[in-house]
Amino acid sequence: MTETILQTRQLGKRYGKRWAVKNLNLEVCRGDVFGFLGPNGAGKSTTIRMILSLIKPTEGETEIFGHRLKTYRSEALRRVGGIVEKPDFYQYLSAYKNLEIIGMLSNGVNHKRISEVLDLVGLSDRAGDRVKTYSHGMKQRLGIAQALVSDPELVILDEPTNGLDPQGMKEVRDLIIHLSRDRKKTIILSSHLLNEIEMVANRMAIIHKGELAVQGDVNALLNEGDKCVILQAEPRQKVLSILKRRKKILKGITEKEGKFEVIMDFAFIPELNRSLVGAGVQVKALIPRRSLENLFLSMTENAV
């Protein structure tokens, strides 16, 4: 049976009259890479700040490893490491000294462990340099190192790929996979990028305007519901007549801003493409899009 190690119940935070997070019920199980997805301003960081006790919830509660955060804060956070938004450090200290100080707050961490995490994130050769000389990517990696320095079982990473170049993003993704698969860490990864979550997470939740939109297994969520194909092709009349003739494989067609949104099973995409090309239609794009993607994109478009 899978053990739930983090649970939020009716968690909410209100600023004035505005609810930044409301009625949030999350459940993270041991071994999960739990994607916490939402557009900018959706309430992801507020939720993570509440889970890590940086801000106090207006209502609801969090339980970590069976300990209520409100009453047993130290016990709840003993096996947790995290990075919240951008990684900030004592700029005038070296990476090593920063980790040593953080270690002191976590019941002490020895030299071997500090060296190990610096090695893990590829900063061993710059360990003695002051953090103010680091690039953004290096600080981001040091952020992950500080989250791992106390060897926590649960690692909470709030947008760890923010501001990284594609190579840096890939390195972080590989590191998350390594931590989950080889080191058996449970990871909560927040992001505003669905594909990033899709690549590393097994379970996910989407938050929108502070409220939970959906939560569950990533594959199940991505595959459930109608799948949609965005078709961009010319000439319009010819495209329409072909689409109407293929009613057996198409469940619905809508036209929007010069593009067709076709609801269909992705397995029939090659067949549809052949019909269009065979009829002399110029196909500019055929983009498969799942219902979850559509849901998330609609949220993102409306996000502040």
Binding site: R49, L52, S53, L54, I55, K56, R73, S74, E75, A76, L77, R78, V80, G82, V84, E85, K86, D88, F89, Y90, Q91, Y92, L93, K97, N98, E100, I101, I102, M104, L105, S106, N107, G108, Q146, S150
Partner: protein, 284 residues
């Protein structure tokens, strides 16, 4: 025992952060520059300063011995305790909490399995250590160098009259005066620490502390009836308690009340800062 070990570790980590920061040494640097400068200048002037101060008195009194000595100069430097030393102390004490907010490092330390109260206590102990060290540094440097440069002798105090304290009586008076000064500076540091718990930039607490010090001092010294009641409760009423050690007889009652008064103010500031800190939402 375990609590003590953990607390020691927290205090050590705060001390590391404090003493590896350049701004921590700014106050020490200024004192290290100014004190020798004043003392060397006074030595070069050869007692002109004292002559001017005693101009009216030398007609009526005969003065014997070396009155322009190290003790006299060290006493003059103690007058920096009114404003300059509080400014330098608030510079560091005001940065203790607000500095973490400015740097965004609250997010680094307050997600650890250690209570905010312990972190707060560690930070306050560090502030006290800095304050005491700073006053001790001022004392050792100003007295030590002054005696090396100008020697020892009786101490002449020119304050609403003339008092000459015999040399045998001077050292212990200085010792207690500096202990009282340290106690007073702890109140100033606690005030800066209190302001530091509210804001997210380190300048605010310095300005607020100095603002309070100036306003309270003005209220304390202006002989207006309206201020008579409030001035009884202002800590600035006792900010001069170190100076009472250079009076004869020493006003022990004033000093005892001052110690209690300053202690109460420090405690009130620290408890208020603690209440703010443990409930604070970290949004930086």
């Amino acid at each position: 025992m375990q609590y003590k070990t953990h607390m020691n570790r927290l205090v050590y980590s705060e001390l590391v952060k404090l003493f590896l920061k350049k701004r921590t040494y700014l106050g020490f640097g200024i004192v290290l520059l100014i004190v020798p400068l004043i003392e060397v200048a006074m030595k070069l002037e050869g007692g002109r300063f004292l002559t001017i101060a005693m101009r009216g008195l030398s007609k009526d009194f005969l003065f014997f011995g070396n009155l322009f000595n190290g003790w006299f100069v060290a006493y003059q430097i103690m007058n920096s305790l009114w404003f300059h030393i509080p400014l330098l102390i608030s510079f560091v004490a005001g940065d203790q909490l607000a500095g973490e907010a400015t740097a965004g490092t609250y997010r680094l330390i307050l997600i650890r399995p250690v209570s905010r109260t312990r972190i707060f206590i560690a930070k306050y102990i560090t502030t006290l250590i800095y304050t005491i060290l700073f006053v001790f540094f001022l004392a050792v440097l100003s007295i030590g160098l002054a005696i090396i440069l100008l020697g020892r002798g009786d101490l002449i105090i020119i304050l609403r009259g003339v008092l000459i304290l015999p040399e045998a009586d001077v050292a212990w008076r200085f010792l207690i005066a500096y202990l009282l000064a340290a106690w007073t500076m702890i109140t100033i540091a606690s005030l800066a620490f209190f302001f530091s718990s509210f804001v997210e930039n380190a300048i605010g607490p310095i300005v607020a502390t100095m603002g309070v010090l100036i306003v309270f001092t003005i209220i304390s010294v202006i002989p207006v009836e309206l201020f008579e009641i409030p001035k009884r409760y202002l800590f600035t009423k006792y900010i001069d308690m170190w100076q009472k050690m250079f009076q004869d007889p020493i006003q022990w009652d004033h000093i005892r009340t001052g110690i209690l008064f300053m202690g109460t103010w420090s405690l009130a500031c620290v408890l208020s800062a603690w209440a703010v800190f443990v409930k604070k939402d970290i949004l930086s």
